[in-house]
Amino acid sequence: MIKMSARSDCSKREATLIRTLAVVFALVTVSFFIMILGHNPISVYISMMDGAFGTGYRLLETLRKSVPLIITSIGISLAFRLKFWNIGAEGQIMMGAMGAAFIALNFPQLPAIILLPLMAFTAMISGGIWGLIPAYFKARWKTNETIFTLMMNYIALKFITYLQYGPWKDPAALGFPKIPNFSQNAVLPDIFGLHAGWVIAIILVILSHIFINYTQPGYEIEVVGGSENTGRYAGMNVNKIIILTIFASGSICGLSGMIEASGVNRTLSVEITRGVGYTAIITSWLSYLKAPVIPIVCILFASMIQGGTFIQMAFQIPQSAAQILQGAILFFVLGSEFFIRYKISFVKQNIPEA
């Protein structure tokens, strides 16, 4: 019979090898798919990479797409460490963007030095509160956070839609549902050709790494994430840890929303997130919640998206090919986890002597 046992002997090298193999298998599988549909998979993959990195402009676009992914992934990884399945990043980004937009639209004349930090602050509070609500109920009554946070996403989306089509509609747009553009003061400045968000992203990655690995609260999160009871026996205030951590998680996602609204879109609209809240779940998972790995995985994912856009225009291959690729890679990596965590052996069944 087949016996499965947990293994602790899987070396880092072996693990990376297994995961890389998984990615390769995914690429090969999708190639068959591409071939059946009449395209040459090699040229498709090469074009995707060309589209993502081939020129200075394209590289910039890839990086621009990776910024919200990195920041949101950092936020989500914080929650996931607590085994709090924060599916609500999408909504937290939106509420953050909404908070920032509220400030930008109501105080457009404030100088940027004051306006931008104020927007960021409001965004972080809004996103934090949005995460806090499900966290409170989880702490208090163990309410299932997976579904709760998911529902919060839709409420946030519908609320922004309501604002865009109603109270915040731009009267100058003559009836077309659009929120007015932010004033110039509310726009994040560029640093080396890309909006300042990338600097914030790097800072967050470093801070997150230090926080988790070298501070007391970071340690507490690890313990409670492993087992709430262990945390309680050790005298930790588990409820407080859950609530504060998820607030932080939500506020980081909210900051991502402010950066997108201010640095990229210069306004607020229902399309503000472009699905980053969900993609970031995947990237933080693939990064094993480790802050230094997150930028690498996020840039890779962003390159798939940018590459997908490129081949769509250049070769009429639908954008959806990039989604299929992402899905396939993730399926294989998820499956490969099993082989890293468990050892399969065939054991002869011992038949007792008669």
Binding site: T146, Y165, S320, A322, I324, L334, G335
Partner: protein, 309 residues
Amino acid sequence: MDASFFTAAVVAGTPLLYAILGEVITEKAGNLNLGVEGMMLIGAVVGFKVALITQNPWLSLGGAMIAGGIAALIYALLTVSLRANQVVTGLTLTIFGTGFSSFMGKNLMGEVVPDNIKLAFADFPLPLLSHIPVLGQVFFNQGILVYGGYIATILAGLYLYNTQIGLNLRAVGENTAAADAAGIKVSLYKYIHIIIGGVLCGLAGAYLSLVYIPSWQENVTAGRGWIAVALVIFCKWNPYRVLVGAFLFGGLDIIGFRLQKYSFYISQYLIDMLPYLVTIIILIVVSARKSISGLPPANLGDSYFREER
């Protein structure tokens, strides 16, 4: 507002009905499959494609259901045998399904469902039942897939609450370790019921692409898969309640156009929030009261390891 609104509500609610039933069955087995939207989209595109190729209504449905089942099989393989995280796997399935459906659908743009298929799924009144005043017009003058929805609901209810297998299934979701110790083949139950869930979601998708909007559209589900996941909770994992939930929210989905006639104005977007708000309230109330009837299956979302029992 007359009976025609309710008739339309039943039609709008039918895809939700199948999807919610599918996810209820999956979750009763202890697995949370967030890939409903993806499975519906896969069913929608495969169903439509088969319809164009074969011009046969039943083959089209069959194709959609098989496709949904295969998508669910991928999820089952990953979460049951390979012990992958259910939430992430489900989300991946949705991303994959959305991409797959969009990709396959590129060449289907602008195509219309063949006439004979439209005819097969068209409304027809049930003898006797359709003559009941008001209710007859609303519930019993519909297409065959709507009637199928009623039957599926009743079958699911009987299965879960009145059969031994159904009891075993509930045990698997409530207390996997005990079910295993009692000799129930946990993995087999999970596989089969996850696949059944996928089959129903595929059917829901096919309803959308073949009947509801009989020409191909990108993103034909428009988020209905997520509403279905929410409504599983609203319906407290009980198939009979799914009828109520599906038709109620089908109605809320379309009420905006009917209300435009009247002078008071509730933004359609605020109405759109209702399924999600209501689900949250139910979630909170149930967990606060810890009442048994409304709780999810206790082992929902857990991967089962016999070795760690």
